[in-house]
Symmetry: C2
């Protein structure tokens, strides 16, 4: 049994990047679930957030649970007995796709900071290439979560007619200054770590402190104060679990963040993190609408959409989902706007499975 | 002309700390404005947030603007032609009071991490000592802003009868997990900076990167996303102001944070920052009420209070001010609760002078 479910799509070479520069011999990794119909009209593409791989769910080749395991499978909200589901690892991510940690064929060394500037439009183009290579002219549905929601907007505006229906999950039509500030600080924590060494680290000399701070700050902004009041309150660790100094781990919430950071560092290439993070800052659908978000969204031609957001999301606030819904509606799509009150904040789509299943499963069921 | 308006109060020696340990020969710095009445019944004490000094406003001895300049002076909201105003630099802060950077008389060397664990109760006791030393038995009003609001609650619960009226500004009756998480991450950024060197830095080898990250994270949580949408949107720096690399300063909001950080580092002792930050995590009025915030607040005996909070404050959310108002009311005080919609977040008390002047000036005028 082959435990690697990953397949690879070789990008056209050279692959020109939006902001300049090009990649030679680049590829993106993807996985699939279900069967493509004879008419090739049942494909659902999922574009991911900043860190997930293409392994969104278990499959025969790789039975380990995926990052959206509870949502994808036979009889689940994204029902693989009906849909042919594709999940692509973003170009620039280190989970099988070409990224800053890949070998630059021009030098035989890793790109590191010589990787060209990455945009979510490049991520979208690469994903569109995968879909095309599978002989699919039009997706039945394009689902984008978090950063992937921005990549999805890029996909639809750059490839008119390539998508019938769209599900937008906890995302934004452009980065707002609060989100830019948070990401900028995450990047700064990595870049100020001496072990980052201007991109020239290796696994034995890895910017662990910087990545740890970046991840903790991510987790703080992915969740919500409301959830934590109920979950952690002011609970302390048992004395034997505590550090011996007044600034060490004492409260449960500190230990929770530490656990998240430990599981994250060394599983993500720091330079790739920097590139994807900056790409998120740069994305702005208004570039396609003469500086207007609404006009940019109005250039997207799809039939139906569901736009989901959460009132406790501080990184991609609900008003931004409403903008997307309004824009797609103004563009002529039939749009359902779902405002959830999940306490988990931005990460609700990974945690509040009942509400997201109901919304997404319901929408897909009506297609 | 003497440009130092600071006066010093020598704490009783030894000065026992709440969490254990004691200080010998310690002092706190303070400044005053206005004249104490013959009956000594017109004193207003201000307890500050984490970083400000006792120089809340200009005075004859030091004409430089103070941190609450617009609020304090003749005819201003805190009217120094009527009130005798005192502002104390918190014990543990490095603006003249004994702190981790002070010389430990037992060794002749700076305390650094040998400074005993600091609590806001210690800060409150020290401030109460200043007031007593001025011959004042009861404050006409105790004003506490941010961390100083928590110190003020400690002051009132530990010194019954010492305060007639109270103004609570953008604070909390206990630290919630979101605020603990943010502060924990700020401390981690400092502690992970190799230049921190377990507290053994000096000004030539100062943990600038860690302090910069801590300050930026502070500023992000002191302001609000809403304000920044209006103020910065996605405005870019002029090309000649930008860094040459894709991760350098590009957006106005990044430059704004950088400016704040540059003005902050080297003006604050990192170890003192750690101590005051942790003291804020530890404070919990529920300790005085058998684990109940409400019961803790009910032990405070004052006549009148005004409790002010801001709907955009993510660090000390409005619900926490409402808790304070409810608790003081249940304790028998006449309480006005003022919920402002200032867009500036936690820092509104420093910025939205019209609204804060109206509230505070109105309340003091009615005393």
């Amino acid at each position: 049994m082959n435990h690697d479910a990953r397949r690879y799509f070789a990008l056209p070479s050279p692959f020109a990047m939006k902001r300049g520069g090009e990649l030679h011999g680049a590829r993106v990794a993807y996985e699939t679930w279900g069967e493509l119909s004879a008419a090739r009209d049942n494909a659902v593409l999922i574009l991911t957030g900043l860190s997930p791989s293409a392994h969104a769910a278990s499959n025969d080749e790789d039975p380990s649970p995926g990052w959206w395991e509870a949502m994808i499978g036979p009889g689940k909200a994204i029902d693989t007995s009906r849909w042919y589901v594709i999940c692509v690892n973003s170009l620039g991510s280190d989970k099988g796709s070409t990224c800053a940690a890949s070998i630059n064929p021009a030098t035989g060394e890793p790109y590191r900071l010589d990787f060209p500037e990455l945009s979510l439009e490049d991520v979208a183009h690469a994903a569109h290439g995968v879909v095309n290579s599978l002989g699919i002219e039009q997706l039945a549905c394009l689902i984008g979560c978090s950063m992937g929601g921005m990549s999805a907007l890029a996909y639809m505006v750059l490839h008119p007619g390539s998508v019938r229906a769209h599900i937008s999950v906890d995302t934004a039509p452009q980065a707002q200054p609060f989100a830019i500030a948070i990401r900028s600080l995450q990047r700064e924590a990595i870049r100020l770590d001496p072990h980052w060494n201007n991109g020239h680290y290796d696994d034995g000399d890895y910017p662990e402190a910087g990545m740890s701070i970046a991840r903790k700050l991510g987790v703080i902004t992915y969740r919500s104060a409301m959830e934590w009041n109920g979950r952690f309150a002011r609970i302390r660790l048992d004395p034997e679990q505590r550090d011996d100094n007044p600034f060490g781990l004492e409260f449960e919430v500190e230990s929770y963040l530490e656990g998240h950071a430990r599981r994250f560092v060394h599983t993500f290439d720091p330079n790739s993190y920097l590139y994807l993070s900056r790409a998120s800052d740069w994305f702005d659908i208004a570039e396609y609408g003469n500086g207007s978000v609404m006009e940019g969204l109005k250039r997207i031609r799809i039939k139906q959409a569901m736009v989901i957001g959460v009132s406790t999301d501080i990184l991609f606030p609900l008003e931004q989902q409403e903008q997307i819904a309004d824009g797609l509606r103004a563009a002529g799509a039939e749009v359902e706007f779902v405002a959830l009150n999940s306490p988990q904040g931005h990460d609700a789509f990974l945690v509040d499975i009942p509400n997201y299943s109901r919304a997404i499963g319901g929408f897909l069921g009506r297609l």
